[in-house]
């Protein structure tokens, strides 16, 4: 009797992914003509990018082929030089930067936010939450909805006695990266016990795969509390909490309060998590999505023309392109972010000479 190894299928998939990452796709770049720019990365920014790129194509005839394979995948493809630009919801970590081999630029494209969403039968639709309460819920220290600390910041709101079911993302994601970065900033205990990354060792709760799965679980489980991207909560009309920022104001997450969060002095390379912002009207769990390119554009036989097209595209994205953000529920860049982004773009070179004037 022959018994097939069913799981070989998955191993094959695995191998295919490995080969992919090793760079069998190197030829791709050579094949694509200079009219088509290639990009890959963040799934979060994908809807905005497709709109931007189709508008840009109509205007200039330059085509952009963007694959939304996740931030990590985009970074990998840029490292392998199979794409012209990557897009990531988190800045490069040290190992990723080292593997790149050459300096890469982070150009902010839009900001996103992570909101605390919940399902409490008979509860309010905009609860007040404070940083320490959120941290303690995700650390498993606050277990009941009618915990005295929750009641204290929600005076006059009816909070039924219900166990809190914590729901987090199952897979590694930029959303988790921003969220855990925030928790690490506001809670020393979280920082030492769990830390921040795109996937962490969660002390409590269960994982849903993707924003849609977290949202689905929260919607169907009474007493559930989880985190999703703002866009997702807006589109699905979910309940989400007002969060106390470090200026002591309770802020409802919205496009305006997310843009406001970026109105702070930014470092010259823009590599910063916007979490726990100092802006008085800013929502505290925000982050940029960056486009990533090599600082020196003359590599792998690229033409100057191609490099210029890429830079022009990104320049257009942060200027004329910003008008498409709000209708698609993305927060436009703040004034400060725009200034920093312009400077970064101007620092890109071809053969040592700046491309944009």
């Amino acid at each position: 009797m022959k018994i097939p190894f069913i799981s070989i299928r998955y191993l094959l998939l695995f191998i295919a992914m490995l080969l992919d990452s090793v760079g069998l796709q190197n030829k791709l770049n050579a094949q694509s003509n200079d009219k088509t720019l290639l990009g890959a990365g963040s799934t979060f920014i994908y809807p905005l990018f497709s709109k931007l790129f189709s508008e840009y194509n109509r205007k200039t005839g330059v085509e952009v082929n963007y694959q939304s394979i996740g931030s990590g995948g985009g970074i990998l493809q840029l490292t392998n030089k199979t794409v012209d630009f990557g897009a990531s919801d988190g800045p490069l970590n040290e190992e990723q930067a080292t593997k790149m081999g050459a300096p890469a630029l982070h150009i902010p494209m839009a900001s996103g936010a992570v909101v605390i969403t919940y399902n409490l039968p008979g509860g309010s639709s905009n609860f007040n939450l404070t940083p320490d309460i959120i941290a303690d819920i995700f650390l498993g220290k606050i277990k009941q909805w009618n915990d005295p600390r929750l009641v204290a910041v929600n005076k006059g709101v009816n909070i039924p006695a219900f166990p809190i079911l914590v729901i987090h993302r199952a897979e590694a994601s930029g959303t988790t990266n921003i969220f855990t970065n925030y928790l690490s900033k506001v809670s020393p205990e979280w920082k030492s016990r769990v830390g921040s990354a795109s996937a962490v060792n969660w002390p409590v709760g269960l994982g849903g795969k993707g924003n849609e799965s977290v949202a689905g679980l929260v919607k169907q489980t009474p007493g559930a509390l989880g985190y999703v991207e703002l866009i997702y909560a807006l589109q699905n009309k979910m309940d989400y909490a007002k969060l106390k920022n470090n200026k002591g104001k309770f802020i409802l997450p919205s496009l305006a309060s997310v843009t406001a969060a970026g109105n702070i002095s930014l470092p010259a390379d823009s590599k910063i998590f916007l979490t726990d912002t100092d802006a008085a009207d800013g929502y505290p769990i925000c982050g940029f999505t960056w486009a990533l390119i090599y600082k020196e554009q003359n590599y792998g036989g690229r033409s100057r023309d191609r490099a210029t097209k890429l830079l022009n595209l990104l320049w257009w994205n942060i200027h004329e392109g910003q008008q498409f953000s709000t209708p698609l529920n993305y927060a436009p860049l703040s004034k400060q972010a725009l200034q920093v982004a312009e400077k970064i773009l101007k620092s890109a070179t071809y053969g040592g000479k700046p491309i944009l004037k």
Binding site: M1, F5, S7, N93, A170, N201
Partner: protein, 304 residues
């Protein structure tokens, strides 16, 4: 004239011989390609696991923490989750798959009802697993949640138990189809002899059909188990995906396959990626061991 015919015959047959040899060679090459492929997969898994093996050593197998931030990886919770869900699913599925096999093989081997049932069962195997995942999440999970509320457990809904139920449904067709074929192959002389000795139908099934087909039935179970061990998508949607060790069958957990699927694309440092690949290696080895043990048992059955 005669000479011509025989000459043609000879040339014909030498051509045929060459074709025969070629055909045989093709078969051997294709057969060997599979062996090379499996060995290649094993080799790749081992090589890619080296960074993780170096930094974590053998305690990877029983480590209880999976912490990508501090680069500490332990496969134990997922090993446990994989084995728990698979065997739980197997145990629940056996009565169903045997019942279907016996009914379709012995009681109702022909007719529209039989065909209808048979096709339906086979359809279950053809449905993509993501659909079971969605169905599990939307229909099964709320039902399990109601059950948990009645039992007074924290009503997560999703967890090991829900994952096992979804798996059960997915693996039933494998054991059922193979069992049905086996039961239909039982020689009618044997059954008729038993009937002529005054045995009832149940007695015939118990003392003639089942002993005759037990190796086939067991092979079907093994096939189901293989499917359950490797299933990824449907499980990951309803198991809860937590690296905590489950303290009951209703608790959330995780399996090796679903951890790999969830974390592979965004694993952003070498040891992390390597630890995930090592998880694939462990899954590979678990499957090999279970298949080997299963074959040993089948052999023992057939030799008796």
């Amino acid at each position: 004239m005669n000479e011509l015919v025989s000459k043609k015959k000879i040339s014909n047959s030498s051509g045929q011989i060459r074709a025969e040899a070629l055909f045989k060679r093709v078969l051997v090459i294709i057969g060997c390609a599979m062996v090379v492929l499996v060995l290649g997969i094993l080799l790749t898994l081992v090589i890619e696991s080296i960074p993780s093996l170096k930094s974590l050593g053998i305690k990877y197998l029983w480590g209880k923490t999976w912490d990508p931030v501090n680069n500490v990886y332990g496969a134990f919770p997922f090993l446990l989750g994989t084995l728990l869900t698979s065997f739980l699913a197997l145990i629940i599925s056996i009565p169903f798959s045997f019942a279907i096999a016996i009914y379709l093989g012995e009681y109702q081997p022909q007719g529209w009802l039989s065909n209808f049932l048979k096709n339906t069962v086979e359809l279950i195997a053809a449905v993509p697993s993501v659909i079971y995942g969605f169905w599990g999440l939307i229909v099964l999970v709320p039902m399990v949640r109601t059950l948990e509320t009645k039992l007074g457990i924290l009503p997560y809904g999703i967890g090991i138990f829900s994952a096992s139920l979804v798996l059960t449904i997915m693996i039933i067709p494998y054991a059922a189809s193979l069992g049905r074929e086996m039961i239909r192959l039982v020689p009618s002389q044997l059954k008729e002899a038993a009937y002529s000795l005054g045995a009832t139908r149940y007695e015939v099934i118990r003392s003639v059909v089942l002993p005759f087909t037990k190796s086939g039935l067991f092979a079907g179970i093994l096939l189901s188990l293989g499917r359950a061990l490797g299933e990824t998508m449907a499980v990951t949607m309803v198991i809860g995906n937590t690296s905590l060790i489950p303290n009951s069958i209703f608790a959330p957990g995780n399996t090796m396959a679903s951890v790999i699927a969830n974390e592979f694309t965004e694993a952003d440092h070498t040891v992390y990626l390597s630890a995930l690949i090592e998880l694939g290696l462990v899954l590979f080895l678990v499957t090999v061991v279970i298949n080997m043990v299963g074959k040993r048992i089948i052999k023992k059955f057939t030799n008796e």
